[in-house]
């Protein structure tokens, strides 16, 4: 039996559609149920629908053999696993955004960066040798520069319409984001007979 961790929501639907194309009996993912573990009718696959940020955890511990989740989540969670494929859907960019012209300030302070990608932002600015102050937020990140809570935001941008509506702009596109297929390091070897042909089929389709 192969266990698959999927990120709840649209990503799970798209992932299940791709798995179906590759011959996996993934219909159960589309069913309207409150069950947490969904078993395919042929008994070959078992799916967990979890919060996106929990997908890498389930895969790292080997509770799920494979998982499908966004690259942004993978960078933020930074787990020890194999990143097998770029599935090329759910594309967006992880950007630094703010007012096109930053207001000149006389009092110097650290750049204040509002984000929910705390770990990724810390790593990015540390690699650049810049001291910043991270302001952790969990939603409506764009509000931070508008209200003066932060100088810039570090967040995913899909269409940019929210930024525009609030007078903000993308200052730097840092990472290309898309859905990725990840695998547990041991399962890939010990369940290679099922996983390798499946990954090959997925590779052909993306």
């Amino acid at each position: 039996m192969i266990t698959v961790a999927l990120a709840k929501g649209r990503l799970a639907q798209e992932s299940a559609a791709l798995l179906k194309e590759c011959g996996v009996d993934a219909d159960v993912v589309f069913s309207d149920t409150r069950k947490l573990v969904l078993e395919s009718s042929d008994g070959q696959f078992s799916f967990f629908l979890v919060k996106p940020s929990d997908v890498p955890t389930y895969v790292e511990y080997g509770i799920a053999d494979i998982g499908i989740v966004g690259k942004d989540t993978l960078m933020e969670e930074d787990k020890d696993l194999y990143e097998m494929l770029d599935l090329k859907f759910e594309k967006c960019k992880l950007c630094v955004a703010g007012f096109p012209e930053m207001k000149k300030q006389l009092t110097s302070s650290h750049l204040r960066v509002a984000t929910k990608y705390v770990h990724t932002a810390k790593k990015l600015y540390a690699a650049r040798g810049e001291d910043i102050e991270i302001i952790t937020l969990h939603g409506s990140i764009e509000l931070a520069p508008v209200t003066g809570l932060a100088d810039v935001i570090f967040d995913i941008v899909q269409t940019g319409s929210t930024l525009k509506a609030n007078g903000l702009a993308v200052l730097e596109e840092v990472y290309d984001i898309s859905a990725r297929l990840v695998a547990n390091k041991v399962s890939l070897k010990t369940k290679a007979d099922v996983l390798l042909p499946l990954i090959e089929k997925m590779r052909e389709r993306v």
């Binding site: 787990k79 020890d80 990143e83």
Partner: protein, 394 residues
Amino acid sequence: MKIKNYYRLPSGVQDLLPDECYNLNLIEQKLAKKFSLSGCTQVQSAGLELYDTYAEIKNKIPQKKMFKLTDSDGSLLVLRPDMTLAVARMAATRLDDVPSKLCYFSSVWQYPQTGGLSIREIYQAGVEFLGVSNPFSDAQGIAFAIECLEEIGVKDFIVDIGHVGFFKGILEDCALNEECVEQVRLLINAKDSVGAQALLLQQGAFESAVNALAALPTLFGGVEVLSRAQKYTTNQTALSALSHLKQVYELLKSFGLEKYISFDLGTVKDLSYYSGVVFTGLTKSLGSPILSGGRYDNLSDDFGKHVPAVGFAMGLKRILITLERQGSLLPVPPVDVAIVSEPDAEALAYQTYQTLTAQGKRVNLFTGDHARMQSLKEQGITLLLASKEGVKEI
């Protein structure tokens, strides 16, 4: 009210209670016998060492990973972070006649690198085969790893083999700086072809080398991987790594062990530490490796003597979890005999206890506690009552 929690443990360390400890002891006994039968002699190294031992050498352990303490004179100490380095240090500096095989049962302490799997005190059993560097000694090391896992009853396992020379060779052709090499290694180790390719192109590496590196994460599976890999490179270091692996495989096959073997050329463990073959023991029952090892011919050079070596360590906690999931752990068995002593019959009871233990029986001794008897009887323990009239079974 203040919550009393001074008796809790810090995170990442554990007590072993009787049932778990009993099973750990069984594993240790089996391994100790196996090690001894194959000519290994056991060593123990100091748990506290000088920080410089691990910081001044070429194969440094990252400062962030070590538990550090300050000595009374102000010098910096560490809790032993790695057994292979400790054995290499002993072999190079303390042993004149390097015996060919050493083994150990010891703990190492490291801060975990990533978020999950947060055990910080790791109890290992391991061996180091010293002094010889050739395909036969590599095959012998891998064969012994298989023997050990079989001996302790692990089911459904494979040993996944790679060779750092293949990756090193391809990198030679890329002419990258050291920092970039480390970044590429991390990406390949995570099988992230996309990331590795992007980085290499950005660094202006040759297309042939980029293609070879991008293929690395796919170069795993059966022995056919070796011939598949050959097509990607003309580099001598990389090709000789492949032919070395082929020789090791032929030897393992001649030992009848090929069913346990798989290959992964994309396993690129720490490059300065390992110099040749690397291998990992994997089982379906656990999402992380239960055994890890490889060849490190240059590790002892920093300690003043060249001692080539191949070795491996098993994480005994992970093996316990594996055995539990495979249904192979046992409860602690009760004692064979319980002696209950009446008042004034203690001397007789003690004498009986001595006689029985000398016969190899496991014996518990009580005084007067009749209430306990029924439950002992239910566990199938032979009950003896010692009184002024003598000893009789009840």
